[in-house]
Subunit: 213 residues, 2 copies
DNA sequence: AAGCATATGTTGACGCTGTCAAGATAACAA
DNA sequence: TTGTTATCTTGACAGCGTCAACATATGCTT
């Protein structure tokens, strides 16, 4: 953005060029997503809300899919920060840390159901429609869990007999499955969250000599 | 269907009234679903494929949602039969039976990805859009698992210390999560199925004195 | 057998969607 | 200053779900 444009923005003078449309669109899309869900998020409504014409977004996103991927991408980054905060806590036993991680994941999903649905929903991941940027944001999240799973196995928190990658897939699958059950309201609701998480953590962890991290 | 109409159908004489449109629509929808996925399943294409006008389906389904629910309903019935066949086997240890049940669930999902996606996807379950018929077909599937979980706990296959309902939600969530990972191709692919299932079964079951059911 | 209600089919129309093409305007680089 | 590029605009198109109005076949009642 040039100095002149920046100045215009500051002075709230209307200009032909928006100056910051990409970010504005992403923010508005997040709001619209929360309010109406994926099915209510249309490019036209979005453009209207931001105050530009229907086709303006196409200069910043190749198509709707790319916009959705960008939103999901932000979701992954945000969750990774939340997770990092949990892992960076000190003075917690491995089991307690894992418990908090599990609870944190489910809470993130329950607090941002529409976003979570977008992040892990078919809309984005079906037959390679995910952008490489999205993949680059999503995969580290799982890789980190694999790394932590290995550590948990070494610490004796999780069974060392199982293959680390399979164990990661199963534990992650459990979190994902519980999250989906909650969001879709199929066989569970929010009042079950704590008990479900504790039950799952109990199943996956064994009694070990307590030590800090 | 009257005798005359039935006769017409038999003789392949074209008639103004289709005579069997509801079932024909459901079957064609299943094919279209398999071929193009949910996003490719439109009422207009469907009607065209069957050879009726765009609005003819509305005399058999209130709207698109009701059609989708009806398809999903069939999916639940079908899965329940598959599951029953597994449970009705004789000469298997509880653990082996559970293993087959787990594998069967994942295989069903992997073999019918589009149908599974419809059955458990947001499209149908978001804010009470599921028909009561669908609920009546879907819930027994879970209730049966709760019943089996209780049995498995009593048999010592699964930890008896955990609340049965929570345990059911967790184990079911795991199956659902793994199924979704496979279908969406996020963090797993078909070549991992067996190992993932075995890993999960190992985690959920304990060593017990083997006995026949 | 006649007539009428009902079920089932049709075409027309509406507003919504994503997206392309062509043109207008601003920003920037030479 | 001039020309290139980025950005934003309107116009247009096909596809979608769905409603309204109308047509036709079926089946029940008399």
């Amino acid at each position: 953005m040039s100095q002149q444009t920046a100045l215009k923005q500051k002075q709230n003078k209307p200009s032909y060029h928006h100056g910051d449309l990409r970010i504005t669109l992403l923010n508005a899309a997040n709001v619209l997503l929360k309010e109406t869900g994926i099915e209510g998020l249309s490019l036209r409504k979005l453009a209207d809300k931001v105050g530009v014409s229907r086709t303006a977004p196409y200069h910043h996103f190749k198509d709707k899919n790319q916009l959705l991927c960008a939103i999901a991408e932000k979701g992954f980054v945000q969750w990774q920060q939340d997770a990092a905060n949990i892992f960076n806590q000190t003075g917690l036993s491995p089991k307690e840390k894992y418990r908090q991680f599990f609870h944190g994941y489910i809470s993130y999903a329950a607090d941002n159901p529409e976003l979570y649905d977008l992040m892990f929903g078919r809309t984005i991941w079906k037959q390679n429609s995910a952008t490489s940027e999205l993949r680059n944001a999503a995969y580290p999240s799982f890789h980190h869990q694999v790394k932590m799973t290995k550590k948990w196995q070494e610490q004796g928190l999780m069974p060392s007999g199982e293959d680390t990658l399979r164990l990661s897939q199963v534990t992650w699958g459990t979190m994902h499955g519980i999250a989906r059950l909650l969001i879709d309201g199929i066989y569970a609701d929010r009042s079950h969250i704590d008990e479900m998480c504790d039950c799952a953590v109990n199943l996956f962890t064994q009694q070990i000599t307590q030590s800090e991290d």
